[in-house]
């Protein structure tokens, strides 16, 4: 069980700010593959991984990051603070 969070247009495309996901995915990439397979809105949100950023347990990570022990994964576009 992992908490998956979505921000900005990722949140809008998926239609949810967060959800709890039952998954056996070993990496962020595998989790993305699972989510893509669910419904069109997920496939759309994850259609271009280059335009997405990932955080695992609130630290920036890559799509190859392992999920073992992770409680929280977040997907969002490049940040625009400041």
């Amino acid at each position: 069980m992992i908490e998956v969070l979505y921000f900005a247009w990722v949140r809008e495309r998926i239609g949810l700010p967060r959800e709890t996901v039952q998954t056996g995915a070993q990496t962020v990439g595998e989790l993305v593959e699972e989510l893509r397979g669910r419904e069109e809105r997920y496939a759309l949100a994850f259609s271009d991984l280059e335009s997405l950023r990932v955080a695992v347990d609130q630290e920036l990570a890559g799509f190859d990051a392992p999920l073992k022990g992770a409680r929280e994964v977040a997907f969002f576009p490049p940040m625009t603070g400041g």
């Binding site: 969070l5 921000f7 900005a8 247009w9 949140r11 955080a55 609130q58 630290e59 920036l60 977040a74 969002f76 576009p77 490049p78 940040m79 625009t80 603070g81 400041g82």
Partner: protein, 149 residues
Amino acid sequence: MDVRVQSADFDSGAELSGFIARQQAAPVGATVSFTGIVRDLPGGGLQRMVIEHYPGMTERAIAAMVGQARARWSLADCLVIHRYGEMRPGETIMMVATASAHRADAFAAADFLMDYLKSRAPFWKQEITAEGTAWVAARDEDEAALQRW
């Protein structure tokens, strides 16, 4: 060190006065501040800006940047305030202030923190006009600016 993530508007000048006042026990010489203001779109028409953020990660990311800045430059103190939620043109979005015995350190650390806040703190800006709502795209030059450090 003082990091605040808040929705409330604030006066960066009043914050600067407070920041300088709290150095009075050991005055530091050099203080640099950066203040970001909501500006209108080039053709006008910005009704408001909405900033979304990732509670929890935002505070961690900013604390990490401040830690890097302190490791890299000689800083007596440092302040970061960043808003989220709704704001209108002319309102303050965020500020950074640094205090050091050396002006070069105060300038470099403030500049560094700004570059990192732009591209490594989980904030997303949305602009609302009469035509609708649009997410602000990250700029390549903001990402490239990180290479300076």
